[in-house]
Subunit: 453 residues, 2 copies
């Protein structure tokens, strides 16, 4: 019998060398760090990370809050920063979740503590991404269905792998770190649309930091915790029909090259993005005012209809998980950005009046290329004067790996995020440093940027 998954991943993490990582993979690492740090700083002024910060009351330490803020103990920094990174739900998407919002805060916190180089940080990201990917492809169902939040449950394992790499753990201890991450995997879908959703990302980043530290200190765990019949893969699987047996390919192929990252253009749940692309294109061609709208029908996958649980949102947070709001915002503001995801905008009478006019129709046909998606999404607007406007069939979101944002588009989002979260920072210098992270001397490079600002 070939070596089991947990040991294989422990070995992969312990043997990973920065030089072995293809440069195309580093392009995705740049995107992950830049997009995560941007959304983290934009999210730092939100209530959720502030509450987590106040409650954890972290002791002073080596790890910076919000890249250039006060330095506190690394586990707490990972927790607070992870909550900030996901607070706006504006951070990148891949592997059925939000990998960077968990991995980057864990890596930044431990890298500062351990004085790791930028190259080590980049490789730690790849270690975490590939570990997450090795779990994700084995599951044919949607974790969402039965209640598990993939970012929370996969994130703890991925972050454990990333931190095990940063600590230079040997294969046995890296295996234990991964098993310890898996035993902290948590987070419920039912808490979507509340502050507990971003909390999941932070909690998993914290779990990853702790898992590697505990394993380094000698806490033992099972070397088959992932693939055991009563282990991680089975536990989080909706039906238990999950591939526990296939050998791991991590280190022999790079899933990040095939799967990449999707960067969000809109600070709403990713399940709204195809429809938003479609409706905004449609409105650019056929301007329709709120008063003109008789009805809007959106066709999207059943998974998406379940995730988007708020059909009558009253707050900016609730609106993130509302297809009804996404359509209303497109009609009223011709966009759906940080300025629209506010309680005041959501509660505007013309927005509220549009919500009941939006019908969401679940499409049960699977997209063979994209787990959980339908082959395409579609938006149809009917106007009071009898027009019927139909969007194109939207198969790829802008910002997806197939239609990636240009560097300039990525920069525009980053700049806007820093304007919201920390306008005094030199956004261009931070962006350029993140987009070449493997060449930074260490994580303190960012603290130095602060001094320069």
């Amino acid at each position: 019998m070939s070596q089991g998954l947990t040991r294989s991943l422990g070995e992969f993490v312990s043997k990973l060398r920065v030089e072995a990582i293809p440069s195309e993979a580093l392009d995705w690492v740049h995107t992950g760090f830049a997009d995560c740090v941007g959304t983290l700083i934009a999210g730092s002024v939100e209530e959720a990370p502030a509450i987590v910060h106040k409650t954890l009351a972290p002791p002073p330490g080596e790890a910076s809050l919000y890249l250039v803020g006060p330095r506190v103990a690394a586990p707490e920094a990972a927790w607070i920063n992870g909550t900030a990174a996901h607070a706006l739900d504006f951070d990148d998407v891949a592997l059925r979740g939000h990998p960077s919002a968990v991995l980057v805060p864990a890596i930044l916190a431990e890298a500062e503590t351990l004085r790791a180089t930028g190259a080590q940080m980049a490789a730690a990201y790849v270690a975490g991404y590939e570990t997450w990917a090795e779990l994700e492809w084995r599951e044919p169902q949607q974790l969402h269905e039965k209640g598990w939040h993939p970012t929370g449950v996969y994130g703890a394992v991925g972050a454990a792998a990333a931190c095990a790499f940063l600590r230079g753990l040997d294969a046995e201890r890296a295996t234990y770190a991964i098993a310890l991450g898996a035993s902290q995997s948590a987070g419920l879908m039912a808490n979507f649309g509340t502050m507990t959703k971003p909390f999941h990302a932070g909690r998993s980043a914290h779990a990853g930091v702790m898992a590697a530290r505990l394993a380094a200190a000698g806490l033992t765990a099972s070397p088959d915790a992932l693939e055991h019949p009563q282990g991680f893969l089975s536990a989080v699987s909706p039906t238990g029909k999950v591939d526990r047996a296939s050998p791991a390919t991590a280190g022999r192929e790079w899933r990040i090259l095939r799967q990449g990252l999707s960067v969000k253009k809109y600070p709403l749940c990713y399940c709204t993005h195809r429809a938003l692309d479609g409706v905004l294109d449609l409105l650019a061609e056929h301007p329709v005012s709120a008063r003109d709208v008789k009805s809007i029908r959106v066709s999207t996958s059943r998974r998406n209809t379940k995730v988007l649980r708020n059909d009558r949102p009253q707050t900016g947070l609730e609106a993130k998980f509302s297809m009804q709001f996404a359509m209303a915002s497109a009609i009223v503001a011709r966009r759906a950005g940080l300025d629209e995801l506010t309680d005041a905008f959501v509660q505007r009478p013309e927005v509220q009046a549009l919500l009941p006019k939006v019908t969401v129709e679940p499409d049960d046909r699977p997209d063979p290329k994209r787990s959980g998606a339908a082959p395409w999404d579609l938006v149809v607007i009917e106007t009071n004067d009898g027009r019927r406007l139909e969007s194109r069939r939207i198969t790829e979101e802008r910002g997806s790996p197939e239609l990636p944002l240009t560097r300039e588009e990525l920069w525009a989002k980053f700049e806007r995020c820093l304007a919201v979260g920390n306008p005094r920072l030199d956004a261009r210098a931070v962006f350029d440093a993140l987009m070449s992270i493997e060449r930074q001397r260490d994580a303190r490079a960012f603290a130095r940027l602060k001094a320069a600002a």
Copy 2:
């Protein structure tokens, strides 16, 4: 429609009054506190809590480690003490898990911080127990089957309820605390037999403390996080067939009166206890030496055979989850106590020689009264001289609610635990204080006992 489960439990916790708790319930609370503190102190000299302590490096605070040790921040104290309480797997059992190992460390830590009275501590235990019980009865399957460790997953919710009570949260915030506990529920069966198992109890105690603190500080969560189709009950359920709809009865009936606690006489997994009672009774009547044994057959429930995963243990920790070891220890030492659960004893040649002679036969018939158990367990010894010795059919373990230990038996276990973990403490004074916890002025009563010692 009646109020959902999460809100009902939030309301129960926020409205619970010490005076409303029946005195028979307090008898179980005494048992829970005394048995947990005893095993916690015995476990305090184990490696797992020492590693967690060293790794967390807790800042100074108000909460005592190991009842009378250094005072550190409460969340970390709950984590370290919870790990110690479960380190020997000698702590009490109920509700398909180990409630006191999670609830008591969380309660002790927050009670010291908040200067709660002994009566409030007792009521917090009942709040946690009843919340745990409200989740547990709804699930017809065994959480074990698909990989979830009930102590970890139910424990985080129960501890959140207990701490929400101690903090005096209103119904809304207590509801959020429970939802936040549920979103931290974690712990894999596959990590049984390693230090990560007791870590689960500590991690859940920490999660409960944090959940109540975060909710108190204003972090929001979903008021239907338990019963939502993508919520806690569904997520941890092996098949998803779980009662999400029945109204909660917490506060109107007291499940603790019906279900009580089982106190362990042996520091092995509870799944070995019926068979150990049976084989020890058999050996008392028919002494058999290790050399005489040809074979030992044990019949027990299939759940038990899955939990007891180590058929060839090499360490004291592995031996806790080994029916083979339980039988070997009974033959060689005529008991299975703290002195036998050591690497040295497990590795003794006559013990190792017996392991392959033990066969465990799964019994698929359900015990209608006890979820996961068979109607009875049975041990059959065949000797080299042709005798066939059959135990009685063991239906109730000694120490179970049906055959509870006497106060003197409980004291004997407590005294032995303190002799192992902290021989300088006045064991009798601590025991008496715990057995009347509702009359203690506050949690500092124990620190004062230290001063007297």
